[in-house]
């Protein structure tokens, strides 16, 4: 694989989340916090609506680059800040748009910066994946 240049977009995708996606993630992960599936509980704690699990957003974001990487074992570390909630409407769901760009590169390691937006708002801060260059 030719080393990609800094600034190059290596992968991107849009994921449509529905309430079913949140229930599926709750079951798969074991995180049954009701703010992720009950409107009444979300409202009672002052949230704008039922939210996607932060770990669901983090998990689906990094998965965007796995087909490009070929081997997910090239990932050395991955970190994010949860800066804005993703509200998932009961009828219309929510779209997450992920763009993965090379943020830095040397001979051994690439830093891939993930931009994750929902409705035009960035929802993850400093979402960075360090991967082995080969």
């Amino acid at each position: 694989m030719t080393a990609p240049a800094v600034g190059e977009v290596v992968a991107e995708r849009t994921v449509h989340l529905t309430r079913e996606s949140l229930v599926r993630y709750a079951g798969a992960s074991g995180d049954f916090n009701p703010i992720h599936y009950r409107d009444d509980v979300a409202a009672a704690v002052g949230l704008p609506g039922v939210l996607a699990h932060g770990m669901l957003t983090m998990g689906l974001a990094v998965e965007t680059i796995v087909p490009w990487l070929g081997d997910s074992g090239r990932i050395l570390d991955y970190g994010v800040r949860f800066t804005r909630p993703v509200v998932v409407d009961p009828e219309h769901g929510a779209d997450l748009v992920i763009v993965a760009k090379v943020g830095a590169a040397d001979d051994d390691i690439l830093r891939i910066d993930l931009t994750v937006t929902s409705g035009g708002t960035t929802v993850l801060g400093k979402a960075q994946v360090r991967v082995r260059a080969t």
Binding site: V15, S21, R24, Y25, G27, A28, S29, G30, D31, V45, G54, M55, L56, M58, G59, L60, V62, E63, V66, P67, G70, D71, S72, G73, I75, L76, D77, Y78, G79, V80, R81, F82
Partner: protein, 148 residues
């Protein structure tokens, strides 16, 4: 009750071994929209040199969660789940998690700092395999709000 600063450096027991099942990896992969064959098809994973399907990178949270439950169960923690937000998350890998792994996690609380009435609690879960080799360290920053 504010977050107890004495959690830093406290000794926590390792979690009970968690056996990573192939269908659990597939279930988790579907839940995070991970459709790459290495997560679903043992032959595709073996072609990359793994013994079985490869868990998506954030699957480590399932193991780390066992340590966060330990933290919340400490009677003197001062951490109440209803006041907790997930502020930051990080994973540092020695290798990916693969079906068949038997994993144990060990919790340490590395720092507690207060910021505008909130407490930021940083905890690390060091996850090792049955041979005692390091697999991944999962680090969470939990933001614990002040008493309502």
């Amino acid at each position: 009750m504010p977050v107890n600063p004495e959690l830093v450096g406290r000794d926590f027991a390792p979690t009970a071994p968690y056996l990573v099942g192939r269908e659990k990896v597939r279930e988790f992969a579907r839940a995070v929209f991970a459709d790459d064959p290495q997560h679903l098809d043992p032959a595709a994973a073996q072609a990359l040199g793994y013994a079985d399907v490869v868990a998506p990178p954030t699957f480590a949270m399932v193991i780390q969660d066992l340590t966060l439950q330990q933290l919340l169960a400490e009677p003197d923690s001062g951490i109440e789940l209803s006041r907790v937000l997930h502020g930051e998350q990080r994973f540092a890998y020695s290798r990916p998690i693969v079906a068949g792994d038997e994993l144990t996690a060990r919790l340490t609380v590395s720092g507690i700092r207060t910021l505008g009435g909130n407490a930021m609690v940083t905890s690390d879960a060091v996850i090792t395999d049955a041979a005692g080799e390091h697999v991944v360290t999962a680090t969470s920053v939990l933001v614990v709000g002040a008493d309502a």
